[in-house]
Point group: C2
Chain length 481, copies 2
């Protein structure tokens, strides 16, 4: 007797989609296995994963200081041995001691407070305060295993049924659409305007909000991703103020995905947290409910495998906080190494510390290289026939628009697939380059995009550009109307 | 405008309960702060957390070999330095190299395959195979951040509405009741029989299943915790076979919580996985759907803070596996250190390895001490007036029954609380010992229990026993009818 079948499982699971690891990524894995088995079986010699923001998988090195501290906290017994001083920097040893002192019983193998170790939350709070210039309270911080569980926790709290809506940008990072689907809510889209560099218009927000209301949907929250994923835009302060005002007026929880806060590549833009914007407008706890997400996976650190992240939750009443605490406690706590790393990225070495100079060199090397790579890839896309690509002001991706010839769209339809997915599959099979179709992020109907990360190591970028350019030319030659 | 309030949030969140970190734990935290501020303010000098299975928080040391490997994988750059050989054992260095070779690009800071690094799943599969003597396939393994997310993933898959039921033991570890509540399903209880050492009767299962059916509930799965939490029983092989047969006949997914598989303290009982039992009955993929959960948080390792765990999923069709893969991919992957540790606990040092003897000494020291502590506490409970306590054959807890005098029950009612919660609060305030009321796990109505871990360090056990005994005597003196 079959005990579980696709017909009886939760339909919300069936509805959930996550293109970043979808069909194209599966084909890539298969090709990689084929390449390993038969290195000469393809016209390319490696798979280049531009589908996902996973810097260290493409060769980015971790920040030495962070890893030193993690290793010492994993195995504190060596802190007292003299050989350790030859292997680890003095400030890493000092920091590890300081962190261990903040952990009850110095036990990095114990469950912590379910929101995270208090001393580490103190450090994170101080780091946010130094960044923003407004007070931060450690009890507002919830440390989580990367940002995904934090987003799920908030969606679980806010969504009771499909009558609960969440305003999400289109295009959006599909964690949001996936989480909304899994929790049975309704994604209420607002479209970013590609023509104005993926600008955000409050009139569009109001229109979509009214439209949702007319369908009986109560919009509970507003998602903003800044710097933007997948489109790489960085919001202006004016735009941020408009958003805060809109959320306040409409009574929406503002969910601010700020995981790319360190990834800004243009001198004319700066990162401003929504917390800072909101406080600088004079709004406090009683005015706006705001959740800000930060992760150790992005920035210059790119420590995706460590699963560290946190959210700062403000403007939620004590009774709601109690509910969040309870739900967090069901999962005991997030992993301690991720917690430690989250405290480190919010409190890196300072002037005078032994590691300060090497830390700065590593950080600046990564960020300046990312800026160069973003520019080279942007220029390359803009040189392709029928392709236009906005600047990646921040984050880790480009989201070029491709104007496909009718013939290509028809060919895709014949294969029962969207034109952008058709293009991505062709690109992968011809070059080994993995990108994600725009349909996985949402796009204005009738437009087509791809998301391509800027993360291949710099010395590989020319080859990526040349393979991409050659492929695109032959694709257009085949399908040009 | 208040944007989010307790009246508008998801009622499933409100319904969820998790007593392990509930009211008693909150009081304990407050008392601890008071003690820190004023060390002489209480009649006790420390809080003893017997409410949660968190060994290292109470002083249990980590297994050295495991931590050596983790530290080296966190900071692989030191592998090639000669000083490292003075600080780390040779087999830890070898194992770290071997693990790094299994990770694409040796990048412990990259997202892995969403089910976990393939090489580590190979190691885990081999470990289960060596334990059970039946084949294990790496694609059946899903590595997760501890077991909680794995349980949530399965509940999310199986539960569409309150018409979907999950058969759960009573008493049960409240992760299950919490997860069922969060996913909107119905917990269908089956009662363990305290009189026969928390035995499990198939007639009881059938009765509860029929009862659920008559209420329009479709039971989807059967949860078994072996060794048992909170009651510490270890199932007999005969009993396990009956359970497998029952699940097969009734078409239920068998969810086997086997996280205490290393924690067995009586020579007459052995751990047998449900996978092994099922395969030894001749049942394969098409006969029984089975999920087995294992964690790095329990056993002799007790690495709760690392958040490592996995499930082995068998008897699920390819289409269902695809859905599980998709949901796992939304969260990218579990933390790599937890993944590495999960592979280590399933493949510890072997005869001939440099660390083998010290590893065995550490492991056996912990397990034999836990066995002694279990016995001492069991005897102590059984000496208390009106208390009867079954043997802790395994796991990390005792679940003694307390026959409260009517007067105590009335006094509790006057404080609008259950008698067991009343007792726990009194115990905590008088002694600093934190235990969890049986009502948090479920119990036969009219009976009262507490769950008390066996985890305080051995040298502290006499003091725990004496404080507990004194408290109980004065409690009974106050309330004896």
């Amino acid at each position: 007797m079959a005990s579980v079948s696709i017909d009886t499982i939760n339909p919300k699971v069936l509805k959930c989609e996550y293109a970043v690891c979808g069909e194209i990524a599966n084909i890539a894995q298969r090709l990689q296995q084929e390449l390993q088995a038969k290195p000469d079986s393809k016209t390319f010699d490696e798979i280049v994963y531009c589908n996902i923001g996973n810097p260290q998988s493409l060769g980015q090195l971790p920040i030495t200081f962070f890893r030193e501290v993690l290793a010492l906290c994993d195995h504190p017994i060596i802190l007292d041995k003299s050989a350790t001083q030859g292997l680890f920097s003095a400030d890493a040893i000092g920091r590890a001691r300081q962190i261990l002192d903040q952990i009850p019983g110095r036990a990095t193998g114990a469950y912590s407070h379910c929101q995270g170790i208090k001393g580490l939350r103190d450090t994170i709070a101080a780091g946010i305060e130094a960044r923003d210039g407004f007070p931060v309270y450690p009890h507002d911080i919830f440390l989580t295993d990367g940002v995904s569980p934090a987003v799920h926790m908030i969606m679980q709290l806010l969504i009771s049924s499909e009558k609960d809506g969440i305003l999400c940008p289109i295009p959006q990072y599909p964690l949001y659409s996936a989480s909304i689907a899994l929790h049975g809510g309704s994604l209420v889209p607002y479209y970013l305007d590609e023509a104005t560099g993926w600008g955000l218009e409050v009139s569009e927000l109001k229109k979509q909000l009214e439209d949702a209301k007319s369908k009986g949907i109560t919009v509970r929250a507003f998602v903003v991703i800044n710097p933007g994923n997948p489109a790489g835009q960085v919001l202006s302060e004016d735009n941020q103020r408009e958003i805060v005002e809109f959320c306040k007026q409409e009574g929406l929880v503002l969910l601010a995905d700020e995981v790319y806060q360190e990834n800004i590549y243009v001198p004319e833009k700066k990162f401003h947290s929504f917390k800072k914007i909101s406080r600088s407008m004079g709004y406090g706890e009683d005015d706006v409910s705001l959740v800000s997400f930060q992760s150790v996976s992005k920035g210059y650190y790119g420590e995706c495998g460590k699963r560290g992240g946190f959210m700062e939750v403000t403007g939620f009443g004590a009774d709601l906080r109690e509910q969040m605490y309870k739900v967090a406690s069901v999962n005991s706590c997030s992993n301690i190494a991720g917690q430690i790393l989250a405290s480190l990225v919010m409190s890196p070495p300072k002037v005078g510390d032994e590691s300060y100079e090497s830390y700065c060199a590593e950080r600046d090397g990564i960020l300046s290289s990312l800026a160069r790579r973003a520019k080279i890839l942007e220029d390359a896309f803009n040189k392709l026939e029928g392709v236009s690509c906005n600047k990646a002001e921040g984050a880790m991706y480009l989201f070029p628009r491709i104007h496909f010839p009718e013939k290509a769209i028809k060919a895709a339809e014949a294969e029962k697939t969207a034109a952008d997915a058709f293009y991505c599959r062709r690109l992968l099979n011809a070059t080994g380059i993995v990108v994600v179709p725009g349909s996985g992020f949402g796009q204005v109907p009738g437009t087509w995009h791809i998301r391509c990360s800027i993360l291949p190591q710099e010395e590989k970028i020319p080859a990526v550009v040349s393979r991409l350019t050659d492929f695109h030319k032959s694709f257009m030659d085949e399908f040009r109307d």
